[in-house]
Symmetry: C2
């Protein structure tokens, strides 16, 4: 769990004692490829930190069609964080796209951190701000970028995505059809843009 400790230490001052107590409330869990980590319509009381593997976050619309709204890779936190925060039932499902190893951060560990770590609230603030920033960029890009620009950007964020996830899920993430994605991939090397 050293990597999680390092990630937290980059955000706040963390004593060895705080780290030890916090980690003792967390545990490691393995998921096989295609296994569901987190269901929709459930109460969410844990957050995952991905040590290895890749997940997708998916949702069904009212017509029963599936949409891939996010991917998450190594060294990222992932959860239906809205459901975790609000106590409302989850909207999203988390599915392993490869054999995936995560550290489970149960709600009681996170609450222990808020109440007992000297900079626990600051850590929570920085994580919420980080993911707010991520979502804000997603919304901006849905409004302002063309599909090919969103494609280029995705490749920067998830460099190896095409070898790890089926194409129809990538198309769904980009909000385009698989045929459109196929056309973009043929043109993409010529049109790459540096957008962050």
């Amino acid at each position: 769990m050293e990597i999680l400790k390092n990630v937290i230490s980059q955000m706040i001052r963390l004593t060895d004692n705080e780290a030890e107590n916090f980690m003792s409330l967390c545990y490691r869990k393995m998921f096989k490829k295609k296994e569901i980590l987190s269901e929709d319509e459930k109460i969410i009381d844990e957050v995952y930190f991905i040590e290895s593997g890749i997940l997708r976050v998916k949702i069904f619309d009212i017509n029963g069609s599936e949409h891939t709204v996010h991917f998450a890779i190594e060294n990222q936190f992932i959860a239906d964080y809205r459901a975790f925060l609000t106590g409302e039932k989850s909207s999203y499902m988390l599915e392993a796209m490869e054999d995936t190893e995560v550290i489970v951060l149960p709600k009681k560990a996170i609450e222990w951190g808020y109440n007992n770590m000297h900079e626990g609230q600051k850590l929570g603030r920085l994580i919420a701000e980080y993911y707010f920033t991520y979502l804000d960029r997603r919304i901006e890009h849905l409004y302002t970028l063309s599909p090919i620009q969103r494609y280029d950007l995705m490749n920067q964020i998830f460099p190896d995505i095409h070898n790890r996830v089926p194409q129809h899920m990538i198309a769904s993430y980009l909000g385009i059809t698989p045929i459109h994605l196929s056309r973009i991939k043929k043109k993409a090397p010529l049109k790459s843009l540096n957008i962050c």
Copy 2:
């Protein structure tokens, strides 16, 4: 500024002394209808709390087309919060849709709060979590709701929006054409759904 104090007091324990010191770093500002509160391509070092009025958040895509991505009304905080947090130049413009009165929270006030208010970091966490939750719902709905459902939802969040904002901005917010919006408005009373 009593309303801002009350909003903060609903989130954290705030002493009179903390409130007085914090408010002394903030100030009230008026904007006329159509005035720009915050430009794009700028460094953002303040957040607004709306006492009265309504704003829209707009952005230009690379073709120069304007998009309305958010509205904000009384008792809400608003800023290009991503630019405020990251220090990157702003992407969004904030424009008053009516004569609008805000309390300006300069960065130094917010940082004073983090460093000196007993629950300042917690306040920052709760605000970031609240706006994360808001954006997460926006993304979910862009993927899963039909235009008429997004229209119904907007009417719940901004009940009087049609009397306060031009129709083409509402259409842009919903991601549809003004003609499509006009059709939806004719059908809407029959199709209202209770989605939160």
